[in-house]
Amino acid sequence: MIFSNTKYAMAGAFIIMACLLPVRTEGQGIARRISAVRDGKVRMTFAAHEDICGYDDGVTTGYRRDSNHRTSWSPGRSEDVIYDRECSEGPVRVVITMAAGAPNRIRTYVGGQWRSAAGVTDIGNVSVKDATDYLLGIANSQSGKAAEEAIFPVTLADSIDATQPLYSLAKNRSRPTEVRGQAIFWLSQEEDARAVSMLDDILKISREESIADKAIFGLSQHRSGKGFPILRAYAENENNSDEMRGKAIFWLGQRHGDDRENYLRGLYAKVRSEELKDKIIFSMSQQKTADSQQWLLDMVTNTREPVEMRKKALFWAGQGGAPIEKLVSLYSRMNDREMKDQMIFVFSQRRERAAIDKLMDVARNDPDREARRKAMFWLGQSKDARVSAFISDMINR
């Protein structure tokens, strides 16, 4: 009886003590258990948020909503996890490779089953809070690949707000640029609407171009599309460097649809820097619509535009698949030597028979000797079977 009472009393004391312990103890417990492994792999699992599933080398998010946003990060087959289906739901599986008592690499998987392996420490299933506290601790304190790789699994954890910690990490100037870059990237993948204003904030306060660059990219990637108005304002702001404005223009050009073409046309008329004009021409070429191609061709013939811009427009029109017939018809309107040279080069880069026909026509009939010489040069590089006979005929006639 006494024994029995003592037993109950001790059990009660354990429960009371457990309740009094601070929440951090468990997270610290994970850290302690992992750092007890000096060299080798440590495995753990924790709950994944819904609507994600894993396969060999990647994770699909939004599959329940049919948005199927697939992220792959390793080219090969998983060495830690085995899958028996294409879309395997949770848990998150994290493998920490320890070297000399410190995390060296962190690999993340979703779903599947652990492959059997010798010499691996498995700490089993841990709470989401413990896991994310531990991983964010690495991202906030360590350097090297492990600090970068610690961020991604945090974004997969169930029922936690990753947005704020990612934002804090992204802004933290004491952290390595690569770690901050990872934080910005994953912030851009958060569906949380606050992420856009956070990225905007990072862009505004960033002193390093590499961080600004990542923030620009992040704004372009946010699924809400709300980053684009911010990028437009950034691209128009003459206080920003041309290089960074150019990056904003580049990403503005990568998304098709809505009034993007009209916007880029308007921006071209506004900007003064040739570097930015160049970027806009490129962005227009990426739209690959009949309107954008026509805009480029109009620029080619617009003698009020600088020759360099006209040449770039011609180059990108040629690369972007502007109809060869239209390009051929423009040749006779090129009075400028540089534009003629560029057009001959553009013909040389096209595979259509009509392009070779035009080069042969120029080589044979253009009154400008240099144009004939250039056309002949490019004909020599062509794989068209008709060319050898044509050249021989030109030499011997």
Binding site: A363, M376, G380, S388, I391, N396
Partner: protein, 264 residues
């Protein structure tokens, strides 16, 4: 191993030089060069009349400039941008073997700074024989570098020896390519000596570009087509251009054509 091989080549050069039909003229250069262990050996010999030099380049016929070194001459100084002969040869010796051969035309020697042996003016025939011998025996870059100065020597005929080198599959590929290149140049000179450099008509200019375009065809059709142009085109300069590009081809049919032209 390399030193032993080079020493053997040097000995072979001396021995072959001794066995030449003109031993009295041919011997001394090889022997005098072989006597120098380290440093530079200079010599001069008469240059063809149609060439002149400046710094790192040699011009032919007043307009065809050929550059073969990228840095400024460390051996010769010039006060004229087209300085007529002689050909100046500088051999760099290391442990009794020749490791580098440089060629200049005209100018005057820079003052020698230690370790320079000047053989003075040597006879054209002796120099050409020596250089061709190097080309026929040296296993490395020196053999290749010896061919060009041999082609600059005045009034000597070295083509028969160059054809032998060009066709000798035991010679290094680069040396054979050099021999073929200079044979092509020589054949071109026979077809079209520099008459009116830079005075080609537009038509000739475009045809020359067309010959280049033809040379770039990659399906094996270039060589026969270039030979046809070299034989039959009505413009000598166009034929010469075809010979130039044939000289880049290292094709046996091109070598036969060069021989045919140079044997006329």
């Amino acid at each position: 191993m390399i030193a032993t091989r080079s020493a053997a080549v040097a000995a072979a050069v001396v021995m072959v030089a001794c066995a030449q039909a003109t031993p009295v003229e041919g011997q001394p250069i090889a022997r005098r060069v072989a006597a120098v262990r380290d440093g530079k050996v200079r010599m001069t010999f008469a240059a063809r009349r149609d060439i002149c030099g400046y710094g790192n380049s040699i011009s032919r016929g007043g307009s065809h400039r050929m550059n073969w070194t990228s840095d400024q001459s460390s051996d010769v100084e010039y006060d004229d941008d087209c300085s007529r002969g002689p050909v100046r040869l500088v051999l760099t010796m290391d442990g009794g073997r020749i490791i580098k051969l440089r060629t200049y035309v005209g100018g005057s020697w820079r003052p020698a700074v230690g370790g320079v042996t000047d053989l003075g003016a040597v006879s054209v025939k002796e120099a050409a024989d020596y250089l061709v011998l190097l080309a026929a025996t040296d296993p490395g870059a020196v053999g290749r570098e010896a061919i060009m100065p041999a082609t600059l020597a005045d009034s000597v005929r070295i083509w028969p020896q160059l054809f032998r080198i060009a066709r000798n599959e035991d010679r290094p590929r680069e040396t054979r390519k050099q021999a073929i290149f200079w044979l092509g140049q020589a054949a071109g000179d026979v077809i079209a000596p520099d008459r009116n450099p830079g005075k080609e008509t537009d038509d000739e200019e475009v045809k020359k570009q067309a010959v280049f375009a033809l040379s770039q065809r990659r399906n094996g059709e270039a060589v026969p087509a270039l030979i046809q142009v070299a034989r039959n085109n009505r413009y000598p300069e166009v034929r010469k251009t075809a010979l130039f590009w044939l000289g880049q081809s290292a094709d046996p049919r091109a070598i036969s054509l060069f021989e045919e032209i140079l044997s006329r």
